[in-house]
Amino acid sequence: MPETPTRPDQQHFFAQLDETPVGVVDSVDESAAPASVWKDAWHQLRRRPMFWVATLLIAVIVVVALFPQWFTSVDPKACDLSNSSLPPSAGHPFGFNFQGCDIYARTIYGARPSVTVGVLTTVVVVLIGAVVGAIAGFYGKWFDSILSRVTDIFFAIPFVLAAIVIMSVLYNQRGILTVVIVLGVFGWPQIARITRGAVLSVKNSDFVTAAKALGASRASTLVRHIMPNSAAPIIVYATVALGTFIVAEATLSFLGIGLPQSVVSWGGDISDAQRRLRANPVELFYPAAALALTVLSFIMMGDVVRDALDPKARKR
């Protein structure tokens, strides 16, 4: 092509080496501390105020659940009808409910069953769901078809109905374990779906193929490579789910099929209190607030953990 004369400001220019130093090609930065995925996530997490708020709340709630006696010396089941609906007084900061029970004590002691239900259900749900999802996602074909259909079936059945039916059957054995079973049986499909999705996306990575080319068995690849890389979404969902299971337990109590009266629970107290909302709103307020705060703390934690584990947030 015909040459144009070079313009004055486009003459051959080159920068001085001391102004533009050229480094060694692709050198390793030996000074930085090693950082695994978890460590990176932790650094991200540390910097968010919401993380610390959630951690504090959860810590408090767990302590209250484990050692209620540290927070009150009043027996929550010691109800004297002559104290019915009395306002707050010394040693009874929240007053009394209709049956004459100390609201503060009941709120404190109500923590344990709720938290226990939440934690146990989450464990059950993650165990079942992750296994089902991993098998469906990894082995594919028939496993996937059948397991996906089974998951769909569980999704199709209305939760409340199933809960009512099962609890009606187990009416006399109602307790924390039965609640966990009911919630668990219908909570696993969501985790299965998430796990399946995560496994599918990791399955085709080159490092998995590299493991195969090494001669690693399929099962070993699933456990050693795919599952650790699929853990993040499961963890995030499980944290949030813990909160929603606690709410679900309260809902079951409201329907009369949650924890029995013999167990001091927030759900039960809310359920009793709502009938007398007009007369004594305080009775509803405290257990409801305690429940909401607990659930809130877990969901907040789930949120910040998700942000911290988000691959896009990391450096490379």
Partner: protein
């Protein structure tokens, strides 16, 4: 009604001059661009200077992290995320747009300055038709509306080289091939007849032959319209071929700029010198040039076979390999057959490198997977050191795997992000139960040393390493079990030029040291020139030509091979007549 905004002036001698007395169209002075990251502000561009004249083509060349894309995006105020211009000035067509308001920028974009972005798939909205997206460019810049616009859309698409434009305008992006999508993006970029077109690596995601066609077309179109073009590229050969003025950037600064020919012939800055030395397209031209003059080139990595007797036994032999895939159709039970590999035969001599070259869809990766025994062939056999792989039982297969190992293309996917480097390299030893913990640690150190990485790398994780470093880890892992054959599936294609050169040299040294044989899969013929002894050119599943590298480059017999050779960027440059020995190696 197309009307070029600038009419190039051709004088009596045939020389082309810019109109308007030569005032620059774009002037970037001392540009500073900053990004906020988790660890504080990062200067992505530190004092960049750049001028583009009307109708001129300028290329910014650099590796990743050089700031070339950032500079270009800063011009049209499209910096991603937290990027901001913190200093310097951008003057376009006499007007300072450095801190122009959002409204003013909307006027400038499209109408005055167009953009052709890099990745055709992610840059087109998948839910709208192609025609809609082109029409949007027309409507937004007040060029045409309604039926008029529809007609113009078809014209623009045809102009960009899309056949059957009217029908195509009614299709969605995912129905187009990569090349077609890029043409659509070019049509969009030029729709409002801007004075300047910014082309950000417009063809790096495409096959080589398609690249050449599209770039030729773009060149013709912009010359006809008098549009100035600002190319962003990492390929020095391509830049020199397509642009008259080059700007070389390194770590946010301009280290050298000037007429392309001059820079290639006489690079002054050490970084530019390195780039010129390492760019495969330029290196392959120089090797050819040296051969033409009968001189042995110092750049040749592959040792030519003319050194007398060497063991010529075949470590891998592939015979009549065919692979047919069953693709599920829409109807249940309906499947179509897709023949990915069609009667392919070749062999790899021990201690040498055989390259399988082809564009996408050629079947080369499928062949690699079959050789690695990750896929079973539909027909044909693979012999490893005389043994037919299909006769091996599970146990023998397990032992066989020690002798052939892969290195994959994507450095960001080939290492488990959850594993420390030590665990990654140790894994093969663990799976095959080699040695105990102590001896394994020793071996890992040995391997890291072999790939020129410090032992402290053991404790690190992939996320902390660069692409080149990860590939070296992948090489170390592949070497752990002392294999005889390594299958490199586009192992250097995703790396920066200088890093690529480093890895190729490393691979070459290891081959000499350990007597390894390589099956080198690539789409880049220029890289083949440097590293391979034998070449098999593949197209749509078949081997089109197979010979030594020298023969293929000197005497290509098949038209497809000739096409591939002609498509190497920089093939048309006639820079390297004399003084080739003076070029730094």
């Amino acid at each position: 009604m197309s009307h070029p905004t600038y009419e190039p002036i051709v004088d009596a001698t045939g020389a082309v001059h810019a109109p308007h007395g030569g005032a620059p169209l774009l002037q970037v002075r001392d540009l500073q661009v900053e990004f906020m990251t988790n660890t504080g502000p990062v200067q992505a561009v530190r004092g960049a200077n750049l001028t583009v004249y009307p109708g001129q083509s300028v290329a910014i060349v650099g590796e990743s992290g050089s700031g070339k894309s950032t500079t270009a995006h800063a011009v049209i105020d499209l910096l991603p995320g937290t990027g901001k211009v913190t200093g310097g000035s951008i003057v376009f067509d006499g007007k300072d747009i450095t801190h122009a308001s959002a409204k003013e920028m909307v006027e400038v974009r499209g109408r005055q300055i167009g953009l052709v972005p890099q990745d055709p798939m992610s840059n087109l909205n998948p839910v709208w038709k192609i025609g809609f997206q082109v029409k949007e460019a027309l409507k937004a810049n007040g060029i045409a509306t309604g039926k008029d616009a529809d007609r113009r859309v078809a014209e623009l698409l045809a102009e960009a080289g899309l056949p059957d434009a009217e029908r195509r305008a009614n299709q969605y992006p995912h129905e187009f091939s990569g090349g077609m999508r890029q043409r659509a993006l070019i049509a969009i970029g030029l729709a409002a007849r801007p004075k300047l077109l910014i082309a950000d690596e417009p063809t790096s995601a495409l096959d080589v032959t398609v690249q050449r066609v599209i770039l030729d077309h773009l060149e013709g179109l912009t010359q006809q319209l008098g549009t100035a073009v600002l190319f962003i590229t990492h390929d020095l050969g391509l830049a020199a071929e397509r642009a008259e003025h080059l700007v070389v950037m390194y770590r946010g600064q301009v280290v050298e700029s000037g007429p392309s020919r001059k820079i290639l012939a006489d690079p002054q800055h050490p970084y530019t010198q390195r780039l010129v030395a390492a760019a495969p397209s330029l290196a392959s031209r120089r090797i050819q040039s040296a051969k033409e003059r009968g001189v042995e080139s110092t750049e040749l990595l592959a040792t030519t076979g003319g050194e007398g007797a060497r063991r010529s036994d075949e470590v891998v032999k592939v015979e009549n390999l065919t692979k047919v895939f069953q693709i599920r159709g829409n109807r249940p039970g309906q499947t179509t057959e897709f023949k990915a590999v069609d009667d392919v035969s070749f062999s790899i001599k021990r201690g040498t490198t055989t390259a399988l070259v082809g564009e996408s869809g050629s079947g080369k990766s499928t062949v690699a997977n079959i050789v690695l025994n990750l896929l079973d062939p539909t027909e044909g056999k693979v012999y490893f050191d005389g043994t037919d792989l299909s006769t091996l039982d599970a146990k023998e297969l397990f032992t066989f795997r020690r002798r052939v190992q892969p290195i994959f293309q994507n450095p960001y996917g080939s290492l488990d992000p959850m594993y420390s480097i030590y665990r990654t390299i140790e894994e093969p030893l663990r799976v095959h139960k080699v040695g105990d913990r102590k001896s394994r640690e020793k071996r890992v150190r040995e391997l890291l040393d072999m790939v020129a990485l410090p032992a402290s790398t053991m404790r690190r994780f992939p996320a902390e390493l660069s692409g080149g470093q990860r590939q070296r880890i992948a090489i170390a892992r592949a070497l752990a079990l002392e294999p005889e054959v390594i299958v490199c599936d586009e192992a250097v294609s995703a790396l920066d030029v200088l890093v690529q050169a480093q890895i190729l040299t490393l691979l070459n040294d290891l081959q000499a040291e350990l007597g390894l044989s390589y099956l080198f899969i690539t789409h880049d013929l220029a890289v083949v020139r440097q590293i391979a002894d034998e070449v098999c050119v593949m197209k749509t599943g078949q081997v089109v030509e197979a010979a030594t590298t020298d023969e293929v480059f000197d005497n290509p017999r098949q038209p497809y091979t000739r096409e591939l050779l002609a498509a190497i960027p920089g093939a048309r440059l006639e820079v390297f007549g004399e003084g080739i020995e003076d070029l730094p190696a």
